[in-house]
């Protein structure tokens, strides 16, 4: 499933995504190029998706995404599959 997030990736958006996927969804490709704020709800959702062995591709996550991974000490155990289009 391809998702493009505008604005914030938070509890509200996480629950919207959960409402749109089902048990058969195995791949999420999330475009974060227009995502202004991502908080722990968004990051925990992505981390858990990855931990469940499902595929995850993130396009252009904001700088704060990596900073939060570091703050939550997830950066060593999880290297998300990131596509950076802004070279």
């Amino acid at each position: 499933m391809n998702i493009k997030i505008r604005g914030g990736f938070n509890l509200w958006i996480k629950n919207m995504i959960l409402n749109h996927i089902n048990d058969n969804t195995r791949v999420l490709k999330i475009d974060l190029s227009k995502c202004k704020f991502i908080d722990s709800e968004g990051i925990i959702f992505l981390h858990q998706w990855h931990q469940e062995g499902k595929q995850l591709k993130l396009i252009d996550p904001p700088e704060e995404f990596f900073e939060i991974l570091e703050i939550l000490e997830l950066d060593n155990s999880w290297q998300p599959n990131v596509i950076n289009t802004n070279k």
Binding site: G7, G8, N10, L11, W12, I13, N15, K36, F37, I38, D39, S40, E41, I44, Q48, Q51, P62, E63, E64, I68, I71, L72, E73, L74, S77
Partner: protein, 489 residues
């Protein structure tokens, strides 16, 4: 200025609140990156409130207050949901990775993305969370440091005769006011917003500030003096007084003060007050000359004072005398004077010529729960608690607030205002025993045009000998406070 929202615990509210927070942060002077981080912290906080404050209700409510000063921004979230202790929700990365338990993750992010995260337990009044971020005034700070080392010299040549006029300030005077401050103090003046013409213009356009400017007949700005309206009462503070060095001792300051008092009367203010520093008696003398009466002494009130010739060696935060000039001929009001402070309060009222009818303690009905408002001054490391209602939980609410504040913020002083027109005050004062509060003074008309007894608690070592109080009654207040404080320690 405060901006307040009353919000339901609905996750749909998160995005609009975040959008508002981000724009507000930018308007307050944060960079885009800082604004983003503060917004994420706010998102974390409101998410926790939405998820955990009211677990047994389908919907609850919480309040958000966005507060801005020149040097910092503050978000205050308050709710009356389930009790909560942030210290019991520490994030554990190993548990998160291995077990998927991310408890405390949001709080960790809040702490990292703000300068201060404060949790105030208000007992039955609920809980309050405060996120604070300093606004970068780095360049000004550097200049302040520079000015401390290189103070502008007083010009030796003074103008012998000058003809001038004094007029009420308007927004287009903003740039001249900033220049006047600079010419007088370079960058050593304490109120940094006076170096920003746009900030001055905003406060003038918003009518938060009234003042006068003195100009020579050729239009040159020679002096400036302002009154700042208090946001919660019909009184105003005098301050920001400057006269260009070459034009001092020409009666300009006195002329401006006279003009200001006239302006204040025209605007029907109930009173003017000034906070005069006690590292020297100059401001206190000026206030006294114009009929101000010393009504209180606030210890350790400001730590940012930079006055020429006085600043470097002063070893403690500066205390201020509250000088008050009543402007209206009030009819007598009923005041409940606590026995402990009966005489000094009565004497203060008499000197201020504010007619009162002292009432004896009588039956009173308490509110269901106490209501006390806390304001933190991060720049000066002080806090003010204003009691609005007494409930049966008064002592516990106050104790909890105080403990939270002292543990997390380490303030120099905490001030407490008790309403003197509330019949419960004399008895409720006894509830403060053991909490470390002692007398500060009378705060007439200070909140909602009502009179308050101001108490204070100081949290760092203090030397009374360094406090220079000018007026006779001010010295009496100082002596009264010194005695009471020595009994406390």
């Amino acid at each position: 200025m405060d901006i307040q929202f009353h919000i339901s615990t609905d996750e749909q509210a998160i995005n609009p609140i975040c959008d508002f927070t981000y724009s507000w942060c930018l308007n307050c002077g944060l960079s885009e990156q800082e604004a983003t981080k503060f917004t994420i912290a706010v998102s974390e906080l409101i998410t926790d409130i939405i998820l955990f404050a009211y677990p047994d209700k389908s919907q609850g409510f919480f309040e958000l207050t966005f507060r801005q000063t020149l040097s910092d921004i503050e978000l205050i979230a308050s709710e009356v949901g389930e009790p909560f202790d942030p210290d019991k929700h520490r994030y554990n990365a190993q548990e998160a990775i291995k077990e998927g338990n991310f408890e405390g993750a949001g709080l960790r992010i809040i702490r990292r993305f703000t300068d201060e995260f404060l949790f105030i337990n208000r007992g039955k009044e609920g809980k309050e969370f405060r996120l604070q971020k300093s606004v970068d005034v780095h360049k000004i700070d550097k200049l302040l440091e520079l000015s401390r080392a290189e103070k502008p010299k007083e010009p030796e040549d003074t103008v012998s005769e000058i003809s001038y006029n004094i007029k009420q300030i308007v927004p287009r005077d903003a740039e001249d006011i900033a220049k006047l401050i600079y010419r007088t103090y370079e960058y050593s003046y304490t109120k940094e917003d006076l170096y920003f013409p746009k900030k001055i213009e905003q406060t003038l356009a918003g009518k938060e500030k009234l003042g006068v400017i003195t100009r020579s007949d050729k239009g040159e700005a020679l002096g400036y003096f302002a009154i700042l309206k208090k946001s919660d009462s019909n009184i105003a503070e005098v301050g920001e007084a400057v006269v260009s060095p070459r034009y001092r001792k020409k009666g300009i300051m006195s002329g401006m003060m006279e003009h200001l008092i006239r302006v204040a009367r025209e605007h029907h203010f109930d009173a003017l007050f000034g906070k005069a520093v006690t590292i020297h008696p100059v401001s206190q003398r000026v206030n006294k000359k114009f009929g101000f009466v010393s009504a209180g002494l606030m210890l350790l009130e400001t730590q940012n004072v930079v006055f020429k010739g006085f600043d470097e060696d002063y070893p403690q935060p500066v205390s201020v005398v509250i000088d008050v000039l009543p402007l209206k001929h009030a009819t007598s009001k009923e005041i409940y004077l606590p026995k402990k402070y009966h005489d000094i309060l009565l004497e203060t009222y008499n000197l201020l010529d504010i007619p009162i009818t002292p009432k004896q303690h009588e039956y009173y009905k308490m509110a269901e729960k106490s209501d006390a408002e806390l304001t933190i001054n991060y720049a000066d490391s002080t806090a003010l608690i204003v009691v609005k209602k007494y409930g049966p939980d008064f002592r516990s609410v106050l104790r909890e607030m105080l403990n939270s504040l002292i543990e997390q913020e380490d303030p120099n002083a905490v001030y407490l205002d008790l309403p003197l027109e509330n019949s419960a005050t004399p008895v409720q004062l006894g509830q403060l025993d053991g909490l470390g509060f002692f007398y500060c003074g009378l705060a007439p008309y200070f909140h909602n045009e009502s009179d308050y007894l101001r108490l204070q608690r100081i949290c760092i070592p203090f030397n009374f000998d360094l406090v220079d109080v000018h007026s006779e009654f001010g010295q009496h207040i100082k002596s009264f406070i010194t005695d009471e404080y020595s009994k406390h320690t």
